[in-house]
């Protein structure tokens, strides 16, 4: 079951007094159940902060966030998060890393599910490998499996492929799209790659920095499943150009 996200008039300020920094200012956003939304913006525009608020990892200074009608106050059970780095535990092998959320939540081991997930991301045969034996892309795929193992209705991703090389990144984009199409989860993807955002998302939220605000929301009207030949389509170019224009207008170019 996918869950919708409702963000209402959310602001976030770090610190207090003259040294305080306003990371987010009056954000309003609705993400439909099963929708794929990407958030783009230059570094420091508060996009990661927004993801942390939705994930319940930190609390908004004002405003409210609801997931499936429930107000978010702490990390909920139906959420999977993928971070910028894989943050795998080096003393656990691939399988044990994926298993971690199940162990913590004492929900019982499910070897078949873990195997299915590892198959899904192409890591069959690496169950017993240690994280350090894997490439960066493979490690991030393990992190993706770990986020998916509890079958969350909402997947939050914070620049998950930022550290990967271009080729691995495109491969991961396609895999993510496939997983999303197969499972129908709500996905919130933070990225600073315009191509990645347009390639994957139903809608792209463009943010402007200091303080972080939503500049515009771009609908991407391209058929699914998309692949990188979609790069040649006019709709793709128009969306990319529009986003780039918005980001340039705010004075920050990638």
């Amino acid at each position: 079951m996918a869950q919708p996200i409702t963000i209402r008039d959310v602001s976030k300020t770090f610190g207090s007094g003259p040294s305080s920094v306003q990371a987010l200012q009056r954000i309003d956003l609705d993400v439909g159940a099963g929708e794929f939304v990407a958030i783009v913006g230059a570094s420091g525009c508060g996009k990661s902060t927004m993801l942390r608020l939705v994930g319940g990892l930190s609390a908004p200074t004002s405003g409210r966030i609801e997931i499936g009608g429930q107000c978010v106050s702490e990390p909920g059970p139906g959420i999977g998060i993928v971070f910028q780095t894989p943050v795998l535990l080096p003393w656990r092998n691939v399988e044990q890393n994926v298993q971690l959320p199940l162990v913590i939540q004492r929900s019982g081991n499910d070897p078949q599910r873990i195997q299915a997930l590892l198959d899904l991301v192409g890591l069959r045969g690496f169950e017993r490998s240690r994280p350090f034996e894997l490439s960066g892309g493979m490690q991030q795929r393990v992190a993706l499996c770990r986020a998916l193992v509890t079958d969350p209705s909402l997947l939050l991703m914070d620049e998950p492929f930022g550290a990967l090389d271009a080729l691995t990144r495109e491969q991961m984009n396609l895999e993510l799209q496939r997983i999303w199409l197969e499972t129908g989860k709500t996905v919130l993807l933070i990225t600073h790659s315009i191509t990645e955002a347009v390639m994957l998302a139903d809608r792209v939220v463009v943010m402007t920095p200091r303080p972080g605000r939503i500049r515009e929301i771009i609908e991407v009207d391209l058929p699914r499943p998309r692949d990188f030949t979609a790069l040649r389509q006019t709709a793709f170019h128009e969306a990319c150009d529009r986003i780039r224009l918005l980001m340039n207008a705010s004075g920050f170019v990638e």
């Binding site: 990892l57 990390p75 913590i104």
Partner: protein, 258 residues
């Protein structure tokens, strides 16, 4: 394997060179044996008194190990408590640090006055000398959880206890072992001090006896025994480290094949 043998060649070459300098210096400057015996004489002395030295070495090793284990058994839990409680840390930590600027050797006679000459006071002196590295390293290790790791623990909804058990403690192990390696070397020092202050056996006691009799040969034999104890215990800790945290980069990068 060939690489390892060659790696061993370097320290052995250094040893040979040092012994050669020692031998040369004694011969050239005609140093009398009561100041500096010849290397061969020391080896001869160790051979003669082998069982005698082994007996006393055994006693000193026991005190060293006992004090070292106490350092771990008290140092690690104390670090956990101090990391868990900000209040306690603020109250206790400055005094613990201050206590370390103080020469612990000076406390040894006091410990004897208070607790006598048994095994307990010796272990206490060794512990006093050796526990601080374990404490400090464990504190640093328990604090070394990075932001994303903390967020991961939070995102998978780990309780404080689960966060400690599944994240903080394993992450601290490399630091704990680093502290233990310093501590085990300090433990040998602590045991010798303990035996200087009040003992009728052990290598520290033998050192005093040899000193009083100007028996430099025995002095050197005891030094060799202490060196062997220190090295063996240090590598024992390192071996345990390899078995417990084979995943850590300091160990992986040493043997790329593993």
């Amino acid at each position: 394997m060939i690489g390892r043998t060659f790696a061993l060649l370097y320290p052995v070459a250094t040893l040979v060179a040092l012994v050669a300098i020692w031998y040369g210096a004694v011969k050239i400057f005609h140093v009398p044996a009561y100041l500096l015996p010849l290397p061969g004489d020391v080896i001869e002395r160790i051979r003669e008194d082998f069982w005698f030295l082994l007996h006393h070495s055994w006693i000193t090793t026991g005190i060293t190990l006992g004090g070292f284990l106490l350092s771990i058994l008290i140092g690690v839990p104390l670090a956990i408590v101090l990391v868990a409680s900000k209040t306690l840390e603020r109250a206790v930590m400055p005094w613990l640090i201050l206590s370390q600027t103080f020469p612990k050797v000076a406390l040894a006679p006091l410990v004897v006055v208070w607790f006598g000459l048994g095994l307990g006071p010796k272990l206490a002196v060794t512990f006093l000398v050796a526990f601080f590295p374990v404490l400090v390293s464990t504190i640093v290790g328990l604090r070394s959880m990075e932001r994303e790791m903390i967020e991961l623990a939070s995102a998978v909804r780990a309780s404080t206890l689960q966060t400690f058990w599944h994240f903080r403690l394993p992450l601290a192990l490399p630091n704990i072992f680093a502290g233990m390696k310093v501590s085990v070397a300090f433990s040998v020092v602590g045991a010798v001090i303990a035996e200087w202050v009040g003992a009728n056996a052990g290598l520290g006691y033998l050192l005093l006896q040899a000193n009083a009799n100007l028996d430099t040969g025995l002095l050197f034999a005891v030094l060799v025994a202490l060196m062997i104890i220190g090295v063996v215990l240090y590598y024992a800790v390192e071996l345990i480290e390899r078995l417990v945290i084979p995943w850590h980069s300091t160990i992986r990068l040493q043997n790329p094949s593993a």
